[in-house]
């Protein structure tokens, strides 16, 4: 097999795994949109905040240290302890649950029944607020995330596939971190699906996603379900933040992954979890293939916009996305 064709396959495999990473972010959006009709633009910043909190807890940073030092003239930065990874993750989860409660209590309780664009703008305001708050709390310099996740290219796969091509072919370069991310994403999606299908609270969540009034009338506490959904989205954001943060460091650009997830949502439909996965895979593969084949002809750096154009073209033929609920309009 020619080296170009093999490189093409490598691009497709990398695209699939990049797609899984995008889908991980898109999952958080879908969860919240399904249950409350809110398009949560703050999902990316939630991922950043979760990753910042995780690193801060693990390193024993003092929250708001810059502000405290500025007001009181002190020089404290660290508590001096190091928290092991699992405990730190549980503590961060608690923080995200507290955040979900606060968002529900102080923001969305007052915005019940507003138009979707107002709710969307409220989440953009939330994103700005959370970004500044995260910077104030943990500092805005770039941090490294050491969870012991394997990094670097996988030598096993490289050696296994080196024989496929000619003498010049080095074997597929598949990042171990990407493989771990794929596994984690699969586990997460499966557990989310099991949760929503087989547990009482998951059924309640699906009921709220269908019809708020009907759910209220059978005795489901909307408030509790919304806090649950935002906490789940926080968990997904934490996983996404950890995966992306382990790849490229915990910094502001992590919040821009939300922009990467938007074409995934457009493609898959805003209300469907399998849609987020399939959409992510399609966008990941399409983006990488386009950059590999046509990118050099138009000057490269097409990854910024090609995902959107691809999603746009799909939408023209299927306005609700591949798996979204069909938009029925009544006069």
């Amino acid at each position: 097999m020619s080296a170009d064709f093999l490189y093409g396959i490598e691009v497709v495999l990398n695209g699939l795994m990049a797609g899984v990473m995008y889908a991980l972010v898109a999952l958080g959006f879908v969860l919240i949109f399904k249950a409350s009709g809110i398009f949560n633009f703050a999902q990316g910043v939630m991922a950043l905040f979760a990753a910042l909190t995780l690193v801060g807890i693990m390193e024993g940073q003092v929250p708001f240290s810059h502000l405290i030092n500025e007001i009181f003239g002190t020089e404290i930065h660290h508590f001096g302890w190091h928290v092991p990874a699992l405990l730190a993750i549980s503590l961060t989860l608690l923080v995200m649950v507290a955040f979900a409660w606060a968002v529900q209590r102080f923001l969305f309780k007052h915005l019940v029944g507003q138009e979707p664009i107002i709710l969307f703008m409220a989440t953009i305001g939330l994103a700005y607020f959370l970004e500044g708050f995260g910077d104030l709390m943990w500092g805005s310099n770039i941090k490294t995330l050491n969870l012991g996740l394997p990094q670097g290219g996988s030598r096993v796969i490289e050696d296994m596939t080196a024989k496929l091509g000619g003498d010049d072919f080095y074997g597929f370069f598949i990042d171990k971190l990407d493989m771990v991310a794929t596994l984690v994403a699969i586990v997460l999606v499966l557990s989310l699906i099991c949760f929503s299908q087989y547990t009482k609270q998951g059924r309640a969540m699906r009921a709220v996603a269908d019809d708020h009034q009907a759910a209220l009338s059978v005795g489901i506490s909307l408030n509790f379900i919304w806090i649950l959904v935002w906490s789940l989205a926080g968990l997904v954001a934490l996983v996404a933040g950890v995966m992306w943060g382990a790849k490229s460091g915990v910094q502001f650009s992590l919040s821009l992954i939300a922009l990467k997830a938007l074409p995934v949502l457009m493609l898959g439909g805003f209300t469907s979890i399998p849609g987020a996965i399939v959409g992510g895979l399609i966008i990941g593969v399409g983006e990488k293939l386009f950059e590999y084949t046509i990118g050099p002809m138009v000057g490269g750096a097409t990854e910024n916009w090609f995902a959107y154009v691809l999603a746009l073209m799909f939408l023209v033929f299927r306005p609700q996305g591949l798996f979204g609920e069909k938009i029925i309009e009544r006069v």
Binding site: H66, E70, H110, E115, M121, I124, L126, F133, L136, L312
Partner: protein, 358 residues
């Protein structure tokens, strides 16, 4: 007791259909125009112009444009930054290609070119609605910014990829370039703002505006009563992009002078103008001005308080700015989802009854 139509009888059709039927409104309008044109140019200085007034005027035009698209016609668009870039680059190419023609004509032509581009990117709106359309306009945003970065023809093959405005004169007075005085910058922007606001207000009052609002409220029903959705939506995109293009051209030529498209016209600009429209009030020309004023003044006030008054380091103040802007947006949306324009309308209603409470 003076803010009512009682006793004020109109004797001609013109007077009956004027924009400000109440005398108080009319006088207020003329006073504001008089102060803006006759008083401020003589007292303005560089700091006020650069920090507050000129960005306010330019963003007001952009906010009027986006308000027409999102507020009157209901099509959410996140491509404002890219359309401003189209206006800026069109103005740049026209200025460098035809150096003898007045910059005023170039700015209007740049608006026209942006209108065509906007109508082209508005075609998906015929099929896609709501949030999906917002994300589709993001395709326009990212694609256009990439295009202006990659294709050297747009920036005249300059080595840095930046575009910079050559010096141009209007009636002998420099309006672009380093020798521009504060009042010249202010006046040229003010002229365009006044023109844009008059055109926009009258368009939205007329049949075009009613068609847009019909599409916004329920586009299937509008189609049934005879509003052509293709014409209405594309014209909304075109008119809105016209104003946004003018604002982009002014932003580049008069205010900044030199622009690097990725950072100046990126997605943050789109969100900024959308905030202005939402906080100012969807579907109101006054709301565009109110929102632009709010979002231009707020960071300046916060910076003044933080850095000058409290002496904190700028990065801490920058973080606080984000926190406070986010809080203010959320607070506003909770308290008054229809924006500052609604507060203004409520105030005017109370003024009608003054001095009685109800």
């Amino acid at each position: 007791m003076f803010y009512r139509e009682a006793g004020d009888f109109k004797t001609s059709y013109d007077a009956d259909s004027q924009t400000f039927p109440i005398a108080f409104d009319r006088y207020r309008y003329w006073v504001v125009l008089a102060v803006a044109f006759l008083v401020i140019p003589f007292v303005i200085n560089d700091y006020w112009a650069n920090a507050l007034l000129v960005p306010f005027l330019i963003y007001a035009i952009a906010a009027i444009g986006l308000n027409i698209l999102t507020g009157y016609c209901g099509q959410v668009s996140l491509g404002t930054g890219a359309f401003m870039a189209v206006g800026a680059y069109a103005c740049y190419k026209l200025m460098t290609a035809f150096p003898d023609i007045s910059i005023l004509i170039h700015i209007i032509l740049a608006g026209g070119i942006t209108a065509l581009v906007g109508a082209a990117f508005g075609l998906p709106s015929l099929r896609i609605k709501g949030f999906y359309l917002a994300v589709a306009t993001l395709a326009a945003q990212f694609f256009l910014v990439w295009l202006f970065n990659k294709v050297p023809w747009f920036y005249n093959n300059s080595a840095s990829g930046q575009i910079s405005a050559p010096e141009r004169f209007v009636f002998g007075i420099p309006v672009t370039g380093p020798n521009t005085e504060a009042w010249a910058m202010y006046l040229i922007c003010l002229v365009f703002v006044t023109g844009s606001a008059i055109i926009a207000r009258n368009m939205t009052r007329g049949s075009m505006g009613r068609k847009w609002m019909a599409i916004r409220d329920m586009d299937i029903a509008a189609e049934i009563i005879g509003v052509n959705p293709l014409r209405a939506k594309l014209s909304a995109f075109a008119v809105s992009s016209f104003f946004i293009g003018i604002s982009g051209a002014l932003f580049f030529a008069v205010y900044l002078g030199a622009v690097e498209v990725g950072e100046v016209f990126g997605i943050n600009k789109s969100f900024l103008v959308l905030f202005m429209v939402i906080i100012g009030g969807l579907g109101s020309i006054f709301g565009a001005f109110a929102g632009a004023a709010f979002l231009v003044c707020l960071p300046v006030v916060l910076k003044l308080i933080g850095v000058d008054l409290l002496g904190w380091p700028p990065d801490l103040v920058a973080h606080f700015q984000l926190v406070i802007i986010g809080l203010m947006i959320m607070f506003f949306l909770i308290k008054e989802p229809h924006g500052l324009a609604q507060l203004w309308r409520v105030a005017k209603e109370k003024l009608r009854l003054w001095p009685f409470p109800y």
